[in-house]
C-alpha cells in the first residue's frame, strides 16, 4: 500500500509540475507587474500618485455651472451599472432557457447547445458590427417597426444598445454553466417536491434554484467580468457616446500612459477579486453541500 502511494505521487508530481511552473510564471508574475507599474512613475520610482489620481481627478459636470464630478468614479459607476444590468438580463433570459433545454430529449439538448455555441464561432467584432446595422435608426429593426406601423425608436447610441450588445455576446457564457449543472440535476427531486404538495413557485425557490446555484454563480462571474471591461461594444453600439473602464484603460495605453493604465487595471482587479471572493463565500454557505 505504501509503495503504491509513493509511486502514484511520483506521477502526480510529474503531472502537475508544468502547470505549477506555468501558473507562477504567467499568471502570478504578470499580476505583480501590474502592481509594480501601478505604484511607480515613468522613471520607476515608487509613487501612489496614479492610484490617488483615479479617485481624485475631477471634471465639470453636465448639470449646473461649476459643479465638479470625479472623472474615474463616474466612469466606474457607469461601467458597473451597465455590467450589472447586462448580467441580470443574461440571467433572466439564460436561466429559463437552460432549464428548458435540460428538460428536452437528449438529441434536442445536443442540438440546442451547439446552436447556442455557433454564434461564438463568428468573430465578435463582426457580430457587434452586425448589431450596429440592426439597431441604427435606418436599420432593419426600425424598418420592420415602421412597416408594422409601430413607429421608429432610437436605440443606437443609448445605454440600451450597449446592454443589448453585451447580452448578446455574453449570453452563452451564462447558459453553458447553468445548463451543465441542470443536465446533471436529479429531476426525481422535483417530482418528489411536487408530490409532496409543493407549489411550482416553491419548487423553483426551494429545489431547482438551490441545486443550480453553483452554475448560476459561475454564469454570473463569466458574464460580469467581460462586460465590466469591454471597450469595443461600447465604442460601436454606444456610438462613441459612452466611456467605460475598458475605454479608459485602452485610452491610457494608446496615449502611452502605461503606469496610469496599470493603476486603473490594478484597482479594477482588486475590486473584482474582492467581489468574487465575497460572492463565493456567500453562496458556498447557502447552497446545499456547497462545492
Amino acid at each position: 500500500m505504501t509503495k503504491k502511494k509513493t509511486r502514484s505521487s511520483l506521477v502526480t508530481g510529474l503531472a502537475g509540475g508544468p502547470y505549477e511552473v506555468w501558473a507562477v510564471l504567467f499568471i502570478l508574475v504578470p499580476l505583480a507587474f501590474v502592481a509594480y507599474y501601478a505604484f511607480t512613475d515613468n522613471d520607476f520610482r515608487f509613487t501612489t500618485a496614479n492610484i490617488v489620481r483615479f479617485f481624485t481627478d475631477t471634471s465639470p459636470a453636465a448639470g449646473g455651472e461649476g459643479t465638479m464630478v470625479r472623472t474615474y468614479l463616474v466612469i466606474s459607476w457607469r461601467s458597473i451599472k451597465l455590467a450589472v444590468i447586462s448580467t441580470a438580463v443574461c440571467l433572466l433570459l439564460g436561466y429559463p432557457l437552460a432549464y428548458i433545454i435540460s428538460r428536452s430529449s437528449p438529441r434536442a439538448q445536443k442540438t440546442m447547445m451547439t446552436l447556442i455555441m455557433i454564434p461564438m464561432w463568428m468573430n465578435f467584432l463582426i457580430r457587434t458590427y452586425a448589431w450596429m446595422t440592426i439597431l441604427q435608426d435606418t436599420g432593419i429593426l426600425n424598418n420592420l417597426l415602421a412597416k408594422l406601423g409601430l413607429g421608429r425608436i432610437h436605440i443606437i447610441g443609448t445605454e440600451t444598445a450597449v446592454i443589448i450588445g453585451m447580452v448578446y455576446d455574453y449570453l452563452p457564457y451564462m447558459i453553458l454553466p447553468i445548463y451543465s449543472i441542470m443536465a446533471k440535476m436529479d429531476f426525481k427531486l422535483i417530482e418528489a417536491a411536487r408530490d409532496l404538495g409543493c407549489a411550482p413557485a416553491g419548487v423553483l425557490r426551494r429545489v431547482i434554484l438551490p441545486l443550480s446555484m453553483p452554475g448560476v454563480v459561475n454564469g454570473i462571474t463569466m458574464v460580469l467580468i467581460p462586460s465590466i471591461s469591454t471597450f469595443y461594444i461600447s465604442q460601436k453600439l454606444g456610438d462613441g457616446m459612452f466611456f467605460l473602464l475598458g475605454d479608459a484603460i485602452e485610452g491610457q495605453y494608446v496615449a502611452n500612459n502605461l503606469h496610469f493604465a496599470a493603476a486603473i487595471a490594478f484597482i479594477l482587479m482588486v475590486a473584482l477579486l474582492a467581489a468574487m471572493a465575497a460572492m463565493r463565500y456567500f453562496t458556498d454557505r447557502h447552497t446545499y453541500g456547497g462545492q
Binding site: 503504491k4 499580476l31 501590474v34 445536443k110 455557433i118 432593419i140 502611452n256
Partner: protein, 659 residues
C-alpha cells in the same frame, strides 16, 4: 406552459441568430453597404479568396487556436490530475485560487499584465523585439488553461477513486491505470475543455491586441485595424463560410450518432462475433477513439507548426506596418501591390522576398507598440506629427536616397516641411485635407460653408463628430480660430467648452471613425467631418434618397502620411527598395486610386489615365488650387505636442465623454 416555453425558446434563438442572418444576406450584396441591399452578387466571396492578407490572418488565427487548445488541453488535463491527487490541502486550495485568476480577471488586464511582463523580460534579456508568435501563444494558453482544468477536475472528483486502485492492485502500473482507467473516464470533459479552449482562442481579440508581435496578425486584429477606413464585406463572406463549415461539421457529427450508424455498428459487432473474434470491449474502444483523437490533434499541430516555420525559412523578410485598408490590395480588379512587389523583386534581384504586410488602427497605436520595442518593422507609414515625434526620439533612421531614385518625382511642395525639415527621414505617401460631408437632401445649402454647420442646432442628432481627441478638438479649434498646436491650456479648455456645447445641445449624434461610412451612406447621419478621399468612397455606396456633397471650411487640417524606416529595421536596403517601388508609376497610381487619397507623386497626378479615372470633381476636390501649399500646411497641420499636454488633452477628452 409548454407553448410559452416553446415561444420563448424560439425567440431566444431568433435573437442569437439575427446578426448571423444579416451577415449571411449582406455577404451577397453587390454594394459595400451593410444597410442597403442593392442586388445579389458573389463578388465578396471572390474578393475574399483573392485577399491573401485576410487568408493569412485566417490561417494565423487557426494555427494559434489549434496550438493553444492542444497545449492547454494536455497541460490542463495533467494539471487537473495533479491537483486532484495533491495531498496538501493548502497547496491545493492555493493552486485552485491561482487557476481561477485568469477567469476572474478581465481580458484587458490579462493582456496588459502579460504585455508588461514580456516587454520587461525582453529588455532584461536584451532581445530586439519582445512580442512575437510565442508571446501570443503563451498568452492564449494561459487564458485557456483554467477552462480545461475546471472541466476536467470535477469529472475526476466524481470518479470512483477505487477504480484506479483496483487496476493497480491487479498489477497495473500507475501510468497504465491512468491511461486505461482514468483517462477514458474523464475523456468527455477533456473534449469539452478542448472545444472551449479552441473557441475562446479563436474569438479572442483583446489579449491578442496587447501581446501579438511582428509577423503574426490574427483575424480579429486585422478587423479591428480597419477602423479608419471601413470593414470590408469580404469579412461577412468569411463569417458566412465559417457558419456553413460549422453547420456541416455538426450535421456530420449528428449523423455518426444517429440510429443508422448505431445499427451499422451493431452489424459490425455481429460480424466480428461471427468471425470468431471476441467483441470489442467498449472501454477499449473509447481508448482507441481517444488515442485516435489525440493523434489527429497532434498531427494537425505538427502540420501547422511546420507551415509556420516553413514561412520563416524564406531568406529575406520585409515587415511593413501601415494603416488598415491603406494600400491597393488587389480587390475589385486593382493591383495587389504587395504581391507584385515580391514578384518584381525576385525577378530583378534573383532572390525571393517575403513581405509581411500588417496594419495599425492609429498613429498612437503604432507608436505605443514601437516605442516599447515590442515589435519590429522595416517600413512604417505614420502621419506627419508622429514622424516629428519619432525623429525627436531617435526612432527613425536617415534614408539613403541613392536607393530611392524615384524620390525625384515627389513634388517640390512636399520638401522641407516642418516635420522633416531636411528631408532626411521620410518620403510622402499620401496627403489630404479634412472637409465636411453633408447630405444635400437634409441640409440647406445656405447653412454650409464653415464649421458652424457641425454646431447648427437645426440639425440636432444628425452630426457625426470624430471619435479621436486630436481631430475632434481640431474641428472646434479651427472653428474658433485657435491654433491647433497651442501649448496654452486655457485655449484647449475653450475648445472643450465648444465640444461640450455641441454635445449637450444634442447636435452630435455619434462619435465615429469607420462607422462614418455606413452612417453617411445610409442617411443615418447628415453631417460629418472626415478625410477628403473617403468622401468619394462614400459617394460610391450612397443609398437612394441620399445626396452626399463635400466642402472645405476655410481653416482646416492638412496632413501628410509618409514612408519611414524605424530604427528597429532589420534590412534597411530592402526597405529602401520597397519605398522606391512604392513611388514608381504603377503601384503609386494603384494606391492613389484604391485609397482615393491625393498623391504627392507627379507620376500619379500628371498621368492622363489617372485624371480620367478620377473624374473632374474628384480631381478638383483632391487637388485644390491652394496657392502657397507650404504656408497653409505649416499653419494648419498638427504638430507633435509634449507628453504633459497630451495627457491633459486626454483628460479633457474623458471629460467630454462622461458628460
Amino acid at each position: 406552459m409548454k407553448k410559452a416555453s416553446k415561444i420563448f425558446t424560439a425567440l431566444m434563438f431568433l435573437f442569437l441568430f439575427a446578426p448571423l442572418v444579416i451577415l449571411l444576406v449582406f455577404s451577397f450584396n453587390e454594394a459595400r453597404s451593410l444597410s442597403v441591399f442593392s442586388g445579389f452578387s458573389l463578388k465578396w466571396y471572390r474578393e475574399l479568396f483573392r485577399d491573401t492578407e485576410t487568408l493569412k490572418a485566417v490561417r494565423n488565427t487557426l494555427v494559434l487556436a489549434v496550438c493553444a487548445a492542444g497545449v492547454s488541453t494536455v497541460m490542463g488535463t495533467a494539471a487537473a490530475v495533479g491537483i486532484h491527487r495533491m495531498r496538501s490541502k493548502y497547496l491545493r486550495s492555493a493552486l485552485d485560487m491561482v487557476t481561477n485568476i485568469p477567469m476572474i480577471n478581465p481580458d484587458i488586464i490579462t493582456g496588459i499584465s502579460m504585455m508588461l511582463m514580456f516587454v520587461f523580460a525582453s529588455r532584461l534579456l536584451g532581445l530586439a523585439n519582445s512580442l512575437s508568435f510565442i508571446t501570443l501563444l503563451i498568452a492564449h494558453i494561459t487564458f485557456c488553461l483554467p477552462y480545461v482544468i475546471l472541466q476536467v477536475l470535477p469529472k475526476l472528483r466524481q470518479m470512483d477513486a477505487s477504480l484506479p486502485e483496483a487496476a493497480m492492485d491487479l498489477g497495473c502500473t500507475p501510468w497504465g491505470a491512468f491511461w486505461k482507467v482514468e483517462l477514458p473516464e474523464i475523456m468527455p470533459a477533456i473534449v469539452t475543455g478542448l472545444i472551449m479552449a479552441f473557441t475562446l482562442s479563436l474569438d479572442d481579440f483583446v489579449i491578442s491586441y496587447f501581446t501579438t508581435g511582428t509577423g503574426f496578425q490574427t483575424l480579429p486584429i486585422r478587423i479591428y485595424n480597419m477602423t479608419k477606413k471601413t470593414v470590408t464585406p469580404d469579412m461577412y463572406a468569411l463569417a458566412t463560410i465559417i457558419f456553413f463549415v460549422i453547420l456541416a461539421l455538426l450535421l456530420l457529427s449528428n449523423l455518426t450518432d444517429s440510429e443508422d450508424s448505431q445499427k451499422l455498428r451493431a452489424a459490425r459487432r455481429a460480424k466480428r462475433a461471427a468471425s470468431g473474434r471476441p467483441p470489442m470491449d467498449p472501454r477499449r474502444r473509447r481508448i482507441l477513439y481517444a488515442c485516435g483523437g489525440s493523434l489527429a490533434v497532434i498531427a494537425v499541430v505538427a502540420a501547422v507548426v511546420f507551415a509556420v516555420t516553413e514561412t520563416d525559412n524564406k531568406p529575406q523578410v520585409l515587415n511593413v506596418y501601415n494603416w488598415g485598408e491603406y494600400i491597393s490590395d488587389g480587390s475589385e480588379g486593382s493591383m495587389d501591390v504587395v504581391k507584385e512587389f515580391a514578384a518584381w523583386y525576385e525577378e530583378e534581384y534573383g532572390r525571393p522576398v517575403q513581405v509581411n504586410y500588417e496594419t495599425f488602427a492609429s498613429n498612437e497605436d503604432m507608436y505605443a507598440k514601437l516605442s516599447k520595442n515590442a515589435i519590429s518593422y522595416d517600413v512604417i507609414i505614420p502621419s506627419d506629427y508622429m514622424i516629428a515625434r519619432m525623429i525627436d526620439e531617435d526612432m527613425l533612421l536617415p534614408l539613403d536616397f541613392d536607393n530611392i531614385p524615384n524620390y525625384q518625382y515627389v513634388d517640390e511642395d512636399f520638401r522641407g516641411l516642418y516635420y522633416d525639415p531636411e528631408d532626411m527621414y521620410s518620403v510622402p505617401y499620401a496627403y489630404g485635407i479634412v472637409g465636411v460631408i453633408y447630405n444635400a437632401n437634409v441640409v440647406d445649402e445656405a447653412d454650409t460653408g464653415g464649421w458652424d454647420l457641425m454646431w447648427n442646432e437645426k440639425y440636432a442628432g444628425q452630426v457625426l463628430q470624430f471619435n479621436n481627441s486630436r481631430d475632434a478638438f481640431g474641428t472646434a479649434m479651427y472653428r474658433a480660430g485657435i491654433d491647433v498646436n497651442t501649448t496654452d491650456r486655457s485655449q484647449w479648455d475653450l475648445a472643450l467648452e465648444s465640444l461640450l456645447e455641441q454635445r449637450r445641445s444634442g447636435v452630435v449624434r455619434s462619435y465615429v471613425m469607420d462607422e462614418v461610412y455606413n452612417m453617411m451612406e445610409s442617411g443615418e447621419g447628415a453631417i460629418a467631418a472626415y478625410y477628403a478621399g473617403d468622401y468619394f468612397t462614400m459617394l460610391d455606396a450612397q443609398a437612394e434618397g441620399v445626396d452626399l456633397r463635400f466642402y472645405y471650411p476655410e481653416r482646416t487640417n492638412f496632413y501628410i502620411d509618409a514612408m519611414c524606416i524605424p530604427s528597429c529595421c532589420q534590412n534597411k536596403e530592402l526597405a529602401e527598395i520597397f519605398i522606391n517601388y512604392m513611388l514608381s508609376k504603377e503601384p503609386a497610381i494603384a494606391n492613389a486610386e484604391y485609397t482615393y487619397y491625393a498623391s504627392p507623386n507627379r507620376l500619379v497626378y500628371e498621368d492622363p489615365d489617372y485624371i480620367e479615372e478620377m473624374g473632374e470633381e474628384a480631381m478638383a476636390i483632391l487637388y485644390p488650387d491652394w496657392g502657397d501649399f507650404a504656408e497653409k500646411y505649416n499653419t494648419y497641420a498638427y504638430r507633435n505636442l509634449d507628453n504633459d499636454l497630451l495627457d491633459y488633452i486626454n483628460s479633457l477628452w474623458e471629460t467630454l465623454k462622461i458628460n
